[in-house]
Amino acid sequence: MFLSIFLFELKYRLKRPATWAYFGILFLFAFTVGIYGSGPASEKTFVNSPHAIATMLAIMSIFQILIASAIMGVPIYRDLEYQTKDYFFTYPIREKAYFMGRYLGSFAILFLVCTGFIFGLWVGEPLGLLTGEVEPERSGPFVLSHYLYPLLVITLPNIFFAGTIFFALVALTRKILSTYVASVLLFIGYLVAVTLSQDLDNKNLVDILDPFAFTTYQNATKYWTPYEQNNLLIPLQGNFLINRIVWIGFSLALFAFTYFRFSFKSLLEVSLGGARKTEERDEKKMRSLADLPVVQKAYSQSIFIKKLFRLAFLEFRNITKDFYFIAILLAGVLFLFLDGWFGDITFGTPSLPLTYYMLEVKDFNYIIFVFIIIIFYTGEVVHRDKAAHYSNIADALPIPNWVVYGSKFLSLALVSFVLVNLVLVCGVLNQIIKGYFNFQFSMYFTDLYLIELPEYLQLVMLAFIVHILVNNKFMGHVVSIGIWVAMFGLRNFAELDYNLFFYSYTPGYRVSDMNGFGHFLEPLTWFNVYWLSLGIIFLIIGNLFWNRGSETGFKARLKLMKQRFSGTSAVFLTFFTLLWLGSGAFIYYNVSVLNTYRTNKESIKIGVEFEKKYKKYEFLAQPKVTDLKINMDLYPEERAARAYGKFVLVNKTNHPIDSLMLEHGSDMTIEMLRIDGTDLQRVFEDKTNSIYFYLLPKTMQPGDTLLMEVQVDARYKGFPNNGLGRLMVYNGTFFDLRIFPSFGYSGDKINSDKERKKHGLPKKDYSAPPQDDPYGLSTLLFNNDADYVTFEATVSTSADQLAVAPGYLEKEWEENGRKYYHYKMNSEMDLFANFSSARYAVLRDVWKVDNNEEVNIEIFHHPTHTYNLDRFVTSVKASLDYFSKNFSPYQYTQMRILEFPRYASFAQSFPNTVPYSESFGWAADFSDPNKTDYVFYVTAHEVAHQWWGHQVTPSFTRGANQISESMAEYSALMVLDHEYGKDVMQNRLKYSLDRYLRGRSSESKFEETLLNNDSRAYVWYDKGSLVLYALQDYIGEEKLNSGFKKFIDTAAFRQNPPFATSNEWYSYIKEVTPDSLQYYLQDSFEKITLYENRVTKATYEELAKNKFKVNLTVQTKKIYYDSAGRDISEGQGKDLIEIGIFAEDGKNDKGMTQKTPLYLKKHWLTPGEHTLEFTVDQKPVKAGIDPYNKLIDRIPEDNVKVVERK
């Protein structure tokens, strides 16, 4: 009996088109991914790597929640819905057989549907290879288990979980509604949970509680190298195993519960709403129809307008009373609130709830809910009367079309208005709760009402016309969503992004406290006029096609449309068409005439052409600048600058130079170029690549000197398709010397091996030459146009702003309503200068040195950003203290920090001047002392660059950037260590460890060592931090610093090549490292080495009062990797590794959590397992190996364990 029910279910389901539709969607999606190789694989990972397949299956199983609810919800409900229950259950069927048959039959179908994804991959991947969309080296061998294993351990348990829930809900509640609600709740709840789990600390709990094991899988594999991603399946162990057992167990329990609770009886119960009153009537009392008063009827325009609003409000109530609307909206608001609540986190430290951030969160998750609400409820509203069959009555009422139609649109406009205001409510609520009262309502209003609301209205307008033209609710949804999916696909996969062609798209923008909405408001307004005009055209057409009456055929409605078309429609249609086309033309003029629009493909092509044409000039002999005098006139309100530069040029090469090769940015024009007073003759120009050749009046012989004068006009014209245009802005201008043309070939533009191969460029392993390369040794890393220079600049700006350039302020005056500042550098510097201008407030302080020298500290900040100024100052002072004491004296007598708008989020160290992004700590919230004071840290890093970068300027060779960045990191870490104590270091370094491990796992070429790395930020910042911090811990801070001091003594301000290399730097490190620890240097600088340390057992017994014996079992292993991330060998010798035993954590004087070591000492350990015994004098709480995570280890959490009583 079971079998026949089971088989019937299978046969029935296999014939349902829906089954194949679900299968087809998954198949098609995987097929597309397969053909285009667009799965989650970095460049050095196979598109069909087991990691990519497992990741895709894990992601898909989350979307399969929705499919599971559709498939597993109906098998029992079917008998309720079609009322077959009334006879079906009279047949001699046993409940259990019915239950099992329906359940297993449906589950088999669900599983079959889910395999659609695998089949799609199997068909798509070979086709991708065949059509050449996927390069052969991006595809690994076909291994069946790579597909089946994740299908079994990820997909199957996940759909078992989701499917059982939905089946159980219908079986127990008899309501299909419950599965819809549950699927939405599960799906949304899951997304919330994933968002919440971003916090690193909850990792273990999240791993186990994630019913879909998505985060579990991510956490277990996040540090896999490309080699491992290509070869490994996730092992069934640890959190992943526990997770699977927990959730399969849960699903089984739920299944069993439902199985035993289920009975036909409960299914058959009739629900009798409320008891009905018996109908009573008294014929005599009945009023006659003749008693009906003769009514006054009125049909004026003003009455219709009133009705329009009345109807709109009614419709609005209809929408907002809907259970699903409330559920979706609440979920959206929850996200909105939480996204705002967790805020903008940097190094684990949140930001104050600034208004711009409260506004920005609307585009994180909330926008998805807005989309869903608008698209679905537009459908509901458009079809409501028809769906309820009320239209048969309503359509014959004496109400003009435009009233009914207009009311429907208005109701959705009202919904949109509510949706934007929720952003305001959530934002202000967050701000109030956090005690931040600078609400900036005008910023809220501008963003929400002028930018966001029009966008929502445009969504409504499009969905409106689609639903009216398609005239079927379901198909209307399909087409509406299809349009957005198509646009999204074209933009993201086909890389087309010309906003004028993508409905409702506008150029991106960013709100800043410093610059407000700045230059973004103009293009946004034009685009909104453009799209709203089109939207209104849609509305007018929709009104003409509005389906009133009983005929739904297109022909009949076309006829109606012709009847309805009136003079008024024509006038409106013409007006908005003109407005649409006019604004479109204006946008086109700005985007494509005033600016140049290029697709990504075009840009790549130009980059390729650039390299093919000009790479031959890479080592072309060009002069170097030795002295530079600049007159810089800034016009912030015009977003323009006029720059005049006087360059002294010297031929430092051994070759004669007869011409100059110049390259400059696209927004600049060279207005004048003179050598020794005579205009230069342009002999070649390539405007696409901005490359120009000028013939020198007289060949420059080696050693010759010339005076070059350049006048440049730089300005933004109109607005582009996209881009921040951040250099010259109304308030917060910041750009560097690239405003002037540069000499020679500026470097390859295409670095991706994949793109290079596709376009016939040779493979590129390095971007800097080897350490013994003569050109590299004689060129500085940051600029090949000069070695050290002398520098002077006069900068002018608008009267209300303050302008800054490197150097000391010599003179300040006002002239013609403008402000002028003359800056001069007292000593030589590398050719690296910024020009900044804004309405600044300035905080001044002084750092005094022992020998009575003083350094002026100046913080140029946005007037309201006063929250953390003391931290900047403290950090500058602490840094100057530490560096001048340990490395060398500070070369300047001032240090300035300048805030610039958050269009970029970095800080950059120019000589005695550091522009520092608005979003980088100015408004960070440091109220929790355990959060990293990254303002302090980053400032120390930038100050350190005055030594590492400006005193020792590295050569243009592989590995040399470690001298700048790794050393700045190390220096900043030491300042942090001294200010906050050892205990903050682990918290700070865990970010370096995480980024290093992630960096190498998504490497797109190969990993390089500290000595040879030329382009990987995760090596120079993060590995550099970890290695150098551990090194000073191993050999002693003073000892290591003495090596660096020696290095700086020989390398600072080196005038002549060879400039500093990583080998030179390394030689000083080797010199101060004892022989016993040379192995650590080799492992860390010359090789790629990871430790696997863990404590497996920790027990204690109390020997006497205040005497505890602790037994520890620890394992240690050291693994060497090749550059592809493949483990090649294991360390055999002894390693020095710290062992620690700790009491309960304490707090230090700053209120920070502090470890309390009872025992802490480094031990020489051979690879393998060791059992160690210690006696301590307090009750031990935790113990472990390398407890501070000083060594690089992929699972740092298992180094420490709670000590248990034996």
């Binding site: 008063p293 069959h389 009555i393 109400i399 109606l560």
Partner: protein, 295 residues
Amino acid sequence: MQLVIQNLSKTYSNGVQALKNVSLTINQGMYGLLGPNGAGKSSLMRTIATLQDADSGSITLGNLDVLRDKHEVRKILGYLPQEFGVYPKVTAETMLDHIADLKGIVDKKQRKEIVSTLLDRVNLAHVKSKNLGTFSGGMKQRFGVAQALIGNPKLIIVDEPTAGLDPAERNRFYNLLSEIGENTIVILSTHIVEDVTNLCNDMAIICLGEVIAQGNPNTLVDSMQGKIWSKSIEKSEMNVYRNSFQVISTQLKAGKTQIHVVSDVQPNESFKPVEAGLEDVYFSKISERMDVVTV
């Protein structure tokens, strides 16, 4: 005021010709439109109710061109569709008030009075604050009647109004319709002959999109008088009789089948004459076009 329909034709996009050259003149009073399911009654009603257009032909109501001046027609129209829905979460009273508002009754007091009178009249006063979603089929139908009567309509179209009503409710509905003033055009479409017999003094029979008879019901019955013959037969003999006579209706009576046939003279002695009713008129007209005996 007269409703004049001339040469009205309509073919749907699926090829079904719903109306073929229909011409009717309908005066004030109760007009019955009788026809089997699928005859084109509802198509005609919807066209008069401004819900769909015709391919050719015209409808005029007094001076109004119904097919063009839809808005003007709607101002004086009361329409009870054959099938209609309601918003399940709105009360009967609120909904009627809303419809009254949409029908142009701006005065709140007037609206309230009308709504309460009508609710009373259709026997829904006791459930006026209940949501429409909880109504039974009959209650919903009565609600439909009430909404059609709002606003003193001059043209009332009721499409299959008695479907789903029990006999007592149907009676009350007849009473209600009969109260409607005489200077109103009421068009009642139905496939139940009794409805027309009870209410109408003018009628048309429509079948497969064509008007096949029209006039006063009594006149139509008179024309059939003496031509209807009845006989009880075994069910198995049915085919024989169908081949030999024009059988217009069959009815089971005590295990035997009673048939009516049309014939100018007595077919043979076994047939007994019966007095013709409107039903016989209807079936005889229909049987000329389609097979009415499907047993």
